[in-house]
Every structure is written in C-alpha cells, then in structure tokens.
C-alpha cells in the first residue's frame, strides 16, 4: 500500500510508542482492569503496524478479533472475577522478579544483536531478484482467500473445528455448577 510519507511515519512512531507504553502497562500496573485496557492499546497499535506493511486484511482481522472479541472477553473476565483482591496483591520486588527481569533482558539483548547485525537488504535483493516482478492484479484479501481455499484448505478446516470445539468446551466448563 503506498501511503504518503507523513502518514506512514506517524503510524510507525505512534504504534511504537503505544507498544512500548502498553507493554509496560500490562505488566506493571497493579489493577488488572487497567492492564486489560493497556492490552487493548497494544492490540490497536499492533494492527496499526500491519497497515504500512501491505496487509490491510490482517490489520482488520486483528482489530476485529483481538480488540473486539478477545480484549472484551478479558475485560469481562476481569470485571467478573476481580472482587477486592487486587489491592491485597502486594507487589513485592522479590528475588524471583529480579532474576526473571535479568533473564528477559538477556533474551531481549540476544535477540536484537542478530537483528541489528544482519544485512537484511542483501537478503532482500537476492530473494527479490528470483521473483518475477508482475503487476498486482489481485489485492491482499483476494490473495489470502485464494490461499485459504486452495493450498491451506486442510489447516483452515482444522482451525475451524478447533475453534468450534474449544468454544463449546468453554461454554460447558463455564456453566456447570
């Protein structure tokens, strides 16, 4: 998708800020309802990231399913479960938290060193020279639909059966008393 330059930069910067602040908010806020709302912020910013990388269908699906279904479900679960126990949850900085933050920081550093070291554009030009440059006759959603109905047909059916079975199981588990 050929977005104009300022809109592209605005989407990237705003989405990055939202991801960083929302990710910190999910983990560090003490009240679970606030962390559920900042999870919603993270999901919206993720769908903003999908728009500049030429995937408007995945962005729309992310916005509809994650924000519209999963986040609403999580907010309802927090409201249903969260009595008055969150303020008894003293947020002590234990030794385990320190060790875990050290481990996660080392995971982060060891992930971003190969990202920054790799020359991605060399790989990009070698792969792109193999592909035939052709006119975009079909758009993104049509291409995903063609893939889902031809060569990803069996995984698509399996996913739908898994979703049906898990939703029936969730209802059966939540209503028995």
């Amino acid at each position: 998708m050929d977005l104009p330059g300022p809109i592209h930069d605005f989407l990237l910067v705003f989405g990055g800020l939202g991801l960083i602040l929302g990710g910190l908010g999910v983990v560090l806020l003490t009240n679970p309802i606030f962390s559920a709302f900042s999870l919603g912020l993270v999901l919206v910013c993720t769908s903003l990231f999908h728009i500049p990388s030429n995937s408007p269908f995945v962005a729309a699906a992310q916005l509809l399913i994650y924000v519209g279904a999963i986040n609403v479900l999580i907010v309802f679960a927090v409201m249903f479960i969260n009595g008055s126990e969150y303020y008894k949850d003293f947020h002590l900085w234990t030794v385990g938290d320190g060790v875990t933050s050290l481990v996660c920081t080392s995971i982060f550093v060891s992930l971003i060193t190969p990202i920054l070291d790799t020359s991605w554009y060399g790989i990009l030009w070698t792969t792109r020279s193999n592909q035939i440059i052709e006119q975009d006759l079909i758009n993104n959603g049509q291409q995903i639909g063609i893939h889902l109905s031809t060569d990803f047909f069996l995984p698509f059916e399996l996913i739908s059966i898994i979703l049906l079975v898990s939703l029936i199981g969730a209802i059966a588990m939540a209503r028995q008393y």
């Binding site: 990710g23 990388s53 938290d97 969730a170």
Partner: protein
C-alpha cells in the same frame, strides 16, 4: 530501517510478555501476557511476509491462523479461570493447588 525497527519492537514485546508470564500472580494477567507473545509472533509473520514473500503472502495466512488459535486459547483459558474462581474464590497462581488433593 523500518524492518529493524519493527523487529526490535517485536522482540521487546516478546521479552516483556515472557517477563509478565513468569512473574504475574494473577491468572488473567498471565493470559494477557500470553496474548502479548502471540502478538509479537504476528508482527514478525506479517513483516517478513511483506518483505520477503510479497507475491505469495503466506505469512499473512499464518497470522490469520495464529489469531484464530489465540481466540480459542483465550476462551478456554478464561473459562478455566472462572471455574477455578468459582471453586476457590481466588485466582492467584501461587495458591492454586486443585490437582493436589
């Protein structure tokens, strides 16, 4: 430049999701951190399918599958949490010993 930026943000999201998944004491917050990890996976799928596979876009199909699995996982997880809460009146992770008796 954009590729490194997006990949670093996705690595940040993955590591903070792992941190929250390990250290959170509330089960619902652990599920939220699981969603963060799945979102990091989604960002990587979509970015790489745009840059390296822009003719076929198979990464987008995989991200659709990941979204569907995340929906199933959230439904099952929250049903389990509400069932535990009904039996135990608490959703603390370190106090749940239902398999213990």
């Amino acid at each position: 430049m954009m590729l490194e930026y997006v990949l670093v943000l996705s690595a940040y999201l993955l590591s903070i999701g792992i941190y929250g998944l390990i250290t959170s004491r509330n089960m619902v917050r652990a599920l939220m951190c699981l969603e963060l990890i799945l979102n990091a996976v989604n960002i990587n799928f979509v970015t790489f399918s745009d840059l390296f596979d822009s003719r076929q876009l198979k990464g987008d199909v995989f991200s659709i599958f990941v979204i569907a699995i995340a929906a199933a996982e959230a439904a099952i997880g929250l049903a389990i949490v509400s069932s535990i809460h009904r039996n135990r009146k608490s959703t603390r992770i370190n106090q749940s010993n239902l398999l213990n008796k």
